[in-house]
Symmetry: C2
Subunit: 134 residues, 2 copies
Amino acid sequence: MDHDVLSIGDLARTTDTKVETIRYYERAGLLPAPARTAGNYRAYRAEHLARLSFVRRARDLGFSLDHVRELLRLADQKDQSCAEIDVIARLHLAEVDRKIADLMALGGELRQIVGQCGHGTVAECRIIEALSPN
Amino acid sequence: MDHDVLSIGDLARTTDTKVETIRYYERAGLLPAPARTAGNYRAYRAEHLARLSFVRRARDLGFSLDHVRELLRLADQKDQSCAEIDVIARLHLAEVDRKIADLMALGGELRQIVGQCGHGTVAECRIIEALSPN
DNA sequence: TATGCACCCTATAGCAGCTATAGGGTCAAG
DNA sequence: CTTGACCCTATAGCTGCTATAGGGTGCATA
Ligand SMILES: [Zn+2]
Ligand SMILES: [Zn+2]
Ligand SMILES: [Zn+2]
Ligand SMILES: [Zn+2]
């Protein structure tokens, strides 16, 4: 492909994203549909690369696709207040903190149960006992 | 329904599980298909209630359906060693610990990013900056 | 006896966020 | 002119449910 135009494979390699994922993001409205070559290949430019990098980074930080879409939209309104961005990020952080708390409670319970297993027969196993009713 | 037989709704109420979820567990091989009444209603017994309670408890502890199936199978071999049960539980605990570690790293990064937002315009927002490439 | 209503049945589709086929077309090198 | 790497669309699959749609059952009440 011509220089300053990237194929979907180029974009995939550069951003460490699977080709199918990029097409999926396009369908999902996270990436604009790029121009096409004569042979109907997607022809990306630097702006698409930047956009996809943004998406990848946001996904790595755990933002949902809905949040990413919102963040992309807001990021384009350069002269507006960033209050909404802040809200999304804080909400997401709260969500992460909540998940950590949930998992810590779970881990504690599991550790306790696992620690009681005396490695005998199933009939005596404290793990099974902990899972069984009454 | 006759006493010592439970309808799916009874089971759902008793175990705080949705009716559809119980049917799903049956399809997924977690619960044995119960006998049917003349009107083709599922007719559960105490053993089914115990089984579903076990499943619920294991799910609450975060075990995957695959793990739960395995645990159910192993739990039935009362005179065998509980070593495999132990392995599954320890693997699962390790998985939970790993998720916690991942989320803590994520949370730290997010907290750092969110803490830098100066509440100005989008153009100056450190959150957007943190998400943008180069 | 009829009607209403709560409950049950199956089958199928939908959710997130991809990933993996199947069944083709394009394009440059040898 | 063929090989092989790449691209295209469409569709199905994954986990663990949940929510319809379109019926049938069973019991109480008018
Ligand atoms: Zn979020
Ligand atoms: Zn044990
Ligand atoms: Zn596990
Ligand atoms: Zn900001």
